[in-house]
């Protein structure tokens, strides 16, 4: 592209193909990797290789893990009656940080989107339904899909499939973020918040 020796150009191209990294950042990262001691740079490469080799999907919940089943699925302290469905492994971390949720998870790795050619078979829905046939002790499935059109459609799909089986499905509430002031909320969020209002118990 700009007359770099091929190995540098290749490195820039590879880094630039990563999400949120533009051409400028890719160049900066590439030259950083070339300026640090060689063993530090190799450690970065080795970390990528190790992660790719050792990380796989948990055979139960489809979260990323280096053991099977994953640490959460193997934890006997966890409530086996509740499964929380999320779109990505990052969502698991977000909910774990609350330290309040004691159930288990199921990671879909995406949401239904015909526009992008993603139908129910392309995300980990079959694994969820198969799992629910085996784990008869599950009483509630919490649908924590993103509040996007695609997330809503996916949540509804799961709810519809599970309803004949008599498994209770719940959708996480959407509304105002804590600490936010009302005046900055958009109308859709506000109307959802009003829809999902709750009585103050005295």
């Amino acid at each position: 592209m700009t007359g770099y020796p091929p190995p540098i150009a290749a490195l820039i191209a590879q880094l630039g193909s990563l999400p949120t990294i533009g051409n400028k950042s890719a160049q900066r990262l590439a030259f950083h990797l070339l300026s640090i001691p060689e063993d530090e740079a190799v450690a970065v490469a080795q970390a990528i290789i190790d992660a790719r080799e050792q990380i796989h999907l948990c055979s139960v919940c489809c979260n990323l893990t280096d053991s099977d089943p994953c640490a959460i699925c193997a934890d006997s302290q966890r409530d086996p009656h509740i499964i929380c469905v999320v779109e990505s492994p990052i969502d698991v971390l977000a909910i774990e940080r609350t330290n309040d949720y004691r159930g288990r998870y199921h990671v879909l790795h995406g949401a239904i989107s015909p526009l992008r050619g993603i139908n129910p078979d392309q995300i980990r829905l079959r694994e969820l339904f198969r799992r629910l046939q085996v784990e008869v002790e599950v009483q509630e499935v919490i649908l924590a899909n993103n509040a996007t059109p695609e997330g809503e459609a996916t949540a509804l799909y799961i709810a519809r499939v599970l309803s004949p089986a008599g498994i209770k499905t719940t959708r996480i509430a959407s509304g105002l973020p804590v600490g936010a002031s009302l005046e900055y909320a958009d109308e859709t969020t506000l109307s959802k918040a009003i829809e999902g209002r709750s009585e103050i118990l005295l």
Binding site: I112, S113, P114, L115, N119, P120, P149, E150, E152, A153, T154, L156, Y157, R160, V161, D186, E187, T188
Partner: protein, 403 residues
């Protein structure tokens, strides 16, 4: 509201422009193709985030450049000055928005801060053009006044494309598999129906109010007993049982029932037949369809009435006047219609483009009793010269010299 200043960078044929604007009437005159309309287009984009002429940002960037920037500083009479700005970067395919120089993340939080009404020769298409022209007119107008509507439109369009992609896929599947997978289609319907119902409810109420103003304006322009009728026509008329008081919840329920009843047809066609994307506005003169039967003159009167109604309704809703943009339309109107337009303008700030300054003085400025409030700007080759600093015709003399 009044524009105080317009700034452009690499927009259309303007490399850089900083222009102070008069709070009353501003005339931009000059030869064709010099950039008069581009100025009005830039101002319009600061209210709607969309051009009235093109949907492609490539058309808006100055040749040889990668990004454009538009900023309008404006004020409500006697209040502090605000500004809205927008920029587009072709290389990153991204648009950015600012309000008072603070970045605004979503365009839907930005549209509607600054209000304009544009009147250009293309507006005749409102009568004789396709339904999409009338929907666009309505969408641009409502979005400026109700930001939630703009968000609903964006949401609806996304849901519509999701649903249509699925229908296209289903159309080519064997009937058995397609029936088995029907649930995948149904899960879009509820969100779709709600978004469409919110849009339709708003369109109906706005058209009700708009038509009341337009009918009044029409009578005063036409000066005879012809009556203008403007009616909202949803894709399926029975979805709105009470046009005077439409209810979102009822529309949603009826639309949802329609969607499931029409599912087979939709699959067969490969696209969704019912929804906000197929609405229209019916414009009638004395009870007959203006699109088919109105004369050129009647069509012009109807469009003018609609534009004046737009101004009135905007004034009513926002309690302040929009900025009026008249792009080369004065010469399209006869003296009676020009008079009606002038009367409706009152103290509104107007930006006018016109090729012939003398014609303007004779046929517009003379109608007004306060011609002192007119500021003249010569537009030439992407530059704007206020009166007093109009340059000598140096280029012309140079050419004759060379010959």
């Amino acid at each position: 509201m009044q524009i105080a200043r317009l700034e452009l960078r690499d927009f259309r044929n303007y490399e850089s422009l900083n222009l102070d604007i008069n709070e009353k009437t501003n005339l931009f005159f000059g030869q064709n193709g010099q950039g008069k309309t581009n100025l009005l287009e830039a101002v319009y984009m600061c209210s709607c985030a969309r051009s009235h002429r093109t949907a492609r940002d490539q058309d808006l960037v100055r040749r040889g450049s990668e990004k454009y920037y538009i900023k309008v500083s404006f004020a409500e009479k006697g209040k502090y000055t605000e500004s809205v700005a927008l920029a587009c970067d072709l290389s990153g395919r991204s648009r950015s928005f600012w309000h008072d120089d603070i970045p605004i993340r979503r365009s839907s939080d930005w549209v509607g801060l600054f209000h304009t009404v544009m009147f250009s020769p293309q507006d005749l298409q409102l009568i004789c053009g396709s339904p999409s022209v009338r929907r666009r007119f309505l969408d641009m107008f409502i979005s400026q006044l109700w930001p939630a509507y703009f968000r609903d439109l964006q949401l609806f369009n996304r849901l519509l494309s999701q649903r249509n992609s699925l229908l296209k896929l289903f159309r080519d599947l064997p009937p058995g598999e397609q029936r088995e997978r029907r649930l995948e289609l149904n899960v879009w319907d509820e969100q779709y129906a709600l978004a469409a119902a919110r849009i339709m409810q708003r369109r109906q109420t706005v058209v009700n109010r708009l038509s009341a103003h337009a009918e009044k304006k029409h009578t005063s322009i036409a000066g005879c007993d012809e009556t203008l009728g403007i009616e909202y026509r949803p894709s399926v008329r029975s979805l709105i049982t009470d046009p005077a008081e439409p209810e979102t919840e009822e529309i949603r329920r009826l639309l949802l029932a329609r969607l499931s009843a029409n599912a087979d047809d939709d699959v067969l066609r490969g696209w969704t037949g019912v929804g906000a994307h197929r609405d229209d506005i019916m414009i009638q003169i004395d009870g007959v369809d203006a699109r088919l039967y109105a004369s050129q003159g009647q069509q012009r009167t109807a469009v003018l009435a609609l534009k004046l109604a737009e101004i009135e309704l905007m004034r009513e809703v926002t309690r302040s006047a929009p900025v009026l943009l008249l792009d080369d339309v004065l010469s399209e109107l006869d003296s009676v219609r020009r008079r009606a337009l002038m009367d409706s303008i009152g103290d509104i700030q107007v930006l006018i483009t016109c090729t012939d300054r003398d014609w303007f003085d004779l046929n517009w400025a003379s109608l007004s009793d306060s011609s002192a409030d007119i500021e003249y700007f010569l537009v030439r080759d992407g530059k704007v010269f206020p009166e007093g600093v109009i340059p000598e015709e140096d280029e012309v003399s140079e050419e004759t010299f060379l010959e």
